[in-house]
């Protein structure tokens, strides 16, 4: 009996190891493929020309493969969405976990999570058909599909991510901290600002960074509402062309293993490095400010 149990244990151990290896192996292969297809572009242009070049004319003869405007577009769009989504997401999380009554929290939480379930193409369509014309009329600007619109739509997409992860982090702050703070005579506001939020800070930072990495990698929304102009934006109402939009729009017609094709994969590498950096930072923060035991504060 004991032998059989031991065997089952072992079999399950190997099974799970195998499954984990397969999924990691697939990821490694995808990464390998990404680099294999992207790096050949540097036979045609130097790294400097590629990253700092101001002109993206991939189908011209001779072609220009400068992705600086695309990188700037991606960063600005993400930054703008962060400016909107971080306060909204974090404050919603604080409200849901600390202030709202149980009934209201039970009502609001699913709604926020529903927002996360909205397909990105629906948000993109909303931005294109409703928000674009609205921005034109309200601000008297010539183009409704622009950086601001894209940032706004991306904020809608990252709020649920930020909110639900931050809420989990706040929820897991030990109750004894709350009680201790209140017992010392702190008001509820003081408890939230000086005790709960600092205690859940690592979780909140992780939430913010995961939300931002969702925004920078999001494709459909920026393809539909960013306007698609490969230029350095002069204002937040200028159209831009973030990296994922460029890849999505052009990949279908780029000649297989041609320069344009390799350039698009190289953009993929840049995008990959950005999200990798975001994730490393998130990991670092989670490690550094880890709440280790209730006595640590």
């Amino acid at each position: 009996m004991a032998v059989l149990r031991n065997r089952t244990e072992k079999a399950i151990h190997w099974l799970f190891l195998g499954i984990a290896t397969v999924s990691i192996g697939i990821l490694v292969l995808i990464m390998f493929f990404l680099f294999q297809e992207g790096l050949p572009i540097f036979k045609t242009v130097t790294l400097q020309e590629f990253v700092m070049g101001h002109y993206w004319y991939p189908t011209d003869d001779p072609a220009d493969f400068g992705i600086f405007p695309l990188i700037v577009a991606s960063l600005f769009v993400t930054l703008l969405s962060a400016v909107i989504s971080i306060p909204l997401g974090v404050m919603t999380a604080v409200y849901l976990s600390e202030i709202a009554s149980r009934k209201i929290a039970e009502l609001v939480k699913p709604v926020v999570e529903l927002l996360a379930a909205l397909p990105s193409v629906v948000i993109g369509f909303f931005g294109m058909v409703l928000v674009g014309p609205f921005l034109q009329k309200t601000f008297g600007i010539p183009i409704g599909l622009n950086l601001f619109n894209a940032g706004l739509m991306l904020a809608f997409m990252s709020i649920p991510t930020i909110c639900s992860i931050a809420e989990d982090a706040l929820y897991s702050v030990p109750n004894s901290l709350r009680e201790a703070s209140l017992a010392l005579g702190a008001t509820e506001l003081e408890t939230i600002v000086k005790v709960i939020v600092p205690a859940g800070l690592s979780g909140i930072c992780t939430a913010i960074i995961l939300g931002m990495s969702r925004a920078i990698g999001e494709t459909m929304v920026v393809l539909m509402v960013a306007g698609g102009a490969a230029m350095l934006p002069g204002s937040i109402f200028d159209p831009v062309r973030p990296m994922p939009a460029s890849i999505a729009a052009e990949m279908a017609e780029a000649p297989f293993r041609g320069e344009h094709y390799h350039a698009l994969f190289a953009i993929g590498i840049v995008l990959f490095l950005f999200t990798l950096a975001f994730n490393l930072v998130a990991d670092q923060i989670a490690q550094r400010y880890r709440q280790s035991g209730e006595a640590s504060l």
């Binding site: 002109y55 993206w56 004319y57 991939p58 189908t59 011209d60 405007p69 294109m128 058909v129 674009g132 014309p133 034109q136 010539p142 183009i143 409704g144 599909l145 393809l223 306007g227 698609g228 102009a229 490969a230 230029m231 200028d238 159209p239 062309r241 729009a249 052009e250 279908a252 017609e253 780029a254 000649p255 297989f256 041609g258 344009h260």
Partner: protein, 271 residues
């Protein structure tokens, strides 16, 4: 349990056979979104004549269409431009020979917002707008309003034809909005008062206003007569000389019924 699974697979196999009997032959068409409406109408009309054939139509761009017939994933590849020499080379390397058929004519028309008073632009004015030299509608006799240049993605066949026939190999200004489809372009122009864009004649609807070029309005007559400057032929490519169902389909395309379907889709018949 096993028996149930067996029954399930038997049923599945039966279903497959059933559908196999209904459609003895398959024909897949892929390629340019400009040719797509014509290809869809042609496929519908063809399936009425030949109910034994299942035709599937997809639009992924001219390059994809040609690549699909070279790879053998489609029987017919639609293209709004002629085959490039690099593509011929690729095909020859894979021992195939793409055969072109000129199935229709198309004309690309500049469109503006319906409230824009401008009715005619010269080719030079169009080029200057797209290179960013003309920035205000005032300069071409319109209202004092910024010109918003709307262009297609650099990989689209429409963009390429526009580049050849209008831009004279000059570059479209980087600040141009780019949209991935004809429909998206109509959407962008409809919602932007200062916009100028270009689309295939078949996609023009009441939401946008056509502008004549050098005094000639884009129309079927003017395209066939050759007076309209921005027009081009549309192609279907087959993998080698067509045979079997593919041959029947190509023959149908050039029949009276086929060319009627072309006209119904908004493109211009070849005869």
């Amino acid at each position: 349990m096993l028996r149930k699974a067996g029954l399930f697979f038997a049923a599945l196999a039966f279903l497959c056979m059933g559908s196999g009997a209904a459609f003895a032959e398959r024909l897949s068409i892929n390629g340019s979104t400009t040719v797509l409406p014509a290809a869809q109408k042609l496929a519908e009309a063809f399936m009425k004549v030949r109910p034994d054939v299942a035709v599937s139509v997809a639009g992924g761009g001219s390059g994809n269409g040609i690549r699909a017939i070279v790879d053998g994933t489609s029987h017919v590849g639609n293209s709004s431009r002629f085959i490039r020499s690099s593509e011929v080379k690729m095909a020859v390397e894979r021992n195939t020979y793409p055969v072109p058929f000129r199935i229709a004519l198309d004309c690309i028309v500049p469109v503006v917002h319906p409230d824009n008073p401008v009715t005619n632009l010269t080719l030079d004015q169009l080029r200057d707008m797209y290179t960013g030299k003309i920035r205000n509608w005032k300069e071409v006799g319109g209202k004092d309003m910024r010109v918003v240049v709307v262009s297609r993605d650099s990989s689209s066949g429409t963009f390429e034809t526009w580049g050849d026939l209008v831009m004279n190999k000059q570059r479209v200004v980087p600040s141009a909005l780019t949209v991935p489809s004809n429909g998206g372009l109509v959407q962008a122009v409809t919602t932007t008062p200062g916009a100028i864009g270009y689309i295939a004649l078949g996609y023009v609807n009441q939401d946008v206003k056509m502008v004549s070029v050098d005094g000639v309005m884009g129309s079927e007559e003017n395209t066939i007569s050759g007076r309209y400057p921005i027009s081009r032929p549309l192609f279907m490519f087959t993998r080698g000389w067509p045979e079997g169902v593919t041959l029947d389909f190509i023959n149908f395309v050039f029949s009276r019924k086929g060319q009627e379907a072309v006209r119904a889709s908004g493109s211009i018949p070849v005869y």
